[in-house]
């Protein structure tokens, strides 16, 4: 799948943003006044910035409000609802804390649940697609939520919990990669079933419909980076897990904590890039790719 920068930015930024909002909603840490303002501002900037970035991917962003209509059947529509609800509830919760110094705990819990639900709905947009075996797997919902929770703890300064969970996240990610490879290799959709000509013999793509590319080959038969996948996986784990853990284990300093967050962010972005670049859509079979 083509790794569109707008979608990668969206899933990275909003994942971390909603993760931070989740922690703030649960009261980790319990903040007030200016400190609360800054924490919430970062959370909303990341989550909202991600959502705005996602609209750059649309052909007709001016019609984006129509995407609230099909929540009964569409995960993308559910994501729109969950994101709007999470922002609204967390906005109210944050405003009460910042301006009136009143913490309504239950409002925070609801906001935290909606924030995590938003990340879950994002992941389901990918997981529901049978056409991409690597996504049609248990790992996107589990990993998207795990990255949000761990990234949220990291940004909320919950160092003692964040360190062991970062390590667990690294292990979970490696297990997911291995199992995704297995799932993709075991896919029962092949050029033989795609053309139905497998009953005669071995099918090979002889000629494409045209000499140039098209929307399908640009969007779904992306294959530039697969050869660098292994290197990128290692870089992604080092940046997202190893570097932050080392920095957090050193004597605490705000600059080190900031570096840990930046490194984690870069690692997650690399992971999301791979999430798209490695995913193979079954339509690429028709094009002999």
């Amino acid at each position: 799948m083509h790794p569109a920068p707008s979608i990668i930015m969206f899933s990275t930024l909003s994942g971390l943003g909603f993760g931070l909002l989740t922690m703030l909603g649960l009261g980790f840490p319990e903040v007030s006044g200016w400190v609360a303002f800054i924490f919430f501002a970062i959370g909303f900037a990341l989550a909202g910035g991600g959502l705005i970035s996602a609209t750059f991917h649309l052909g007709h962003p001016e019609r984006a409000l129509k995407s609230f209509t099909q929540w009964r059947s569409s995960w993308l529509s559910r994501e729109a609802w969950a994101a709007a609800a999470a922002m609204a509830v967390m906005g109210l919760y944050a405003a009460l804390i910042i301006f009136t110094d009143t913490r309504i705990a239950i409002l925070g819990w609801i906001g935290a649940a909606l924030s995590l639900l938003t990340v879950f709905t994002t992941s389901m947009i990918y997981t529901q697609l049978k056409t991409v075996p690597r996504w049609n797997h248990w790992s996107p919902p589990v990993l998207f939520m795990a990255y949000a929770i761990v990234g949220g703890l990291l940004m909320a300064g919950q160092v003692t919990v964040a360190v062991p969970l970062l390590v667990a996240l690294g292990v979970l990610q490696v297990v997911a990669w291995v199992d995704q490879d297995r799932k993709e290799n075991a896919s029962d959709t092949t050029l033989a079933t795609a053309t139905g000509l497998g009953t005669i013999g071995t099918v090979k793509a002889f000629e494409s419909p045209h000499t140039g590319g098209n929307y399908l080959t640009h969007e779904m038969a992306f294959r530039v980076a697969r050869k660098h996948a292994q290197t990128l996986k290692i870089i992604s784990v080092i940046l997202a897990v190893v570097v932050p853990v080392i920095l957090l284990l050193l004597p605490f300093h705000h600059l080190l904590a900031l570096l840990a967050v930046v490194s984690h962010f870069a690692g997650v972005a690399a992971q999301r890039w791979l999430f798209f670049a490695e995913a193979k859509h079954v339509v690429s079979l028709y094009y002999g790719r």
Partner: protein, 250 residues
């Protein structure tokens, strides 16, 4: 609503004969022509005469080479591919705006272009590559089964079928109601063993493909052979002299 109908009154679709298709791309041209000049956003071409031309098409012809398991030379098949108007169309349910829908009256899967936000998720959900985002209009384009031809009473009756079917010079494309077992297309599918593409994807496509007929078996020998004079094994005349001479030298 982008929920799929539980039942459609008809299942209009195409039957494509892989035995007959000659790969001329006439259906591609007819489709692009009709659907550019009529219903919906035109099918754009960008950089048509430049280095990287790209455009939207609703129908494309691939070619596949098959090496038979039983031995013998490889066979070549031309393979037209367009929307299969699936009964369980995954492109419909993923749509966040309701722009993508399947009609109850005839089972045609359509896009309401004024509701399409151009997110591209329906194209991701389709295993067949039947949907393409128009590079100029930025809305999703797909085969409409020429919905503006098949019911069009301003056209002569023989033209009330999809442009690709009407134009095919080889008779490789057939149009009809596949939910009616008595229709010509259903009979054709039953007789020739029509099959689904990617049945394991669970999309229940309406369009069917007819498999290539088995190749004729040419007998190894001629039935008249025993009555013919045996062919001289040894070269005669000048060639015979040359053969002997060369053998002596060699």
């Amino acid at each position: 609503m982008t929920s799929l109908p539980t039942h459609t009154e008809k299942s209009l679709g195409l039957v494509i004969d892989l035995d007959t298709c000659v790969g001329c791309h006439a259906c591609v041209t007819a489709c692009k022509g009709w659907n550019t000049e009529n219903y919906g956003a035109p099918l754009a071409d960008v950089d048509a005469y430049g280095a990287e031309p790209v455009g939207s098409f609703l129908n494309r012809i691939h070619s596949y080479e098959v090496q038979p398991d039983t031995g013998g030379p490889a066979q070549l098949f031309h393979f037209p591919k367009s929307c299969l108007h699936c009964a369980d169309a995954p492109c419909v349910t993923v749509c966040p705006t309701g722009a993508s829908y399947k009609r109850v009256e005839d089972g045609i899967v359509l896009v309401n272009e004024s509701d399409c936000i151009g997110c591209g998720l329906c194209a991701w959900a389709c295993p067949y590559g039947a949907r393409e985002m128009d590079p100029s209009e930025k809305v999703m384009k797909k085969c409409t089964l020429c919905v503006d031809r098949i019911y069009n009473e301003n056209l002569p009756e023989e033209d009330r079928q999809p442009a690709c079917v009407r134009t095919c010079p080889a008779g490789a494309r057939h149009f009809g109601d596949l939910s009616d077992p008595e229709s010509d297309v259903s009979k054709l599918v039953a007789e020739r063993g029509g099959f689904d593409l990617m049945p394991e994807q669970g999309t229940a496509p309406v369009n069917k493909y007819l498999p290539p007929r088995p190749k004729d078996e040419v007998p190894e020998f001629d039935v008249l052979a025993p009555y013919l004079e045996p062919v001289a094994e040894e070269p005669q005349g000048f060639l015979g002299w040359l053969d002997k001479t060369l053998e002596r030298i060699g």
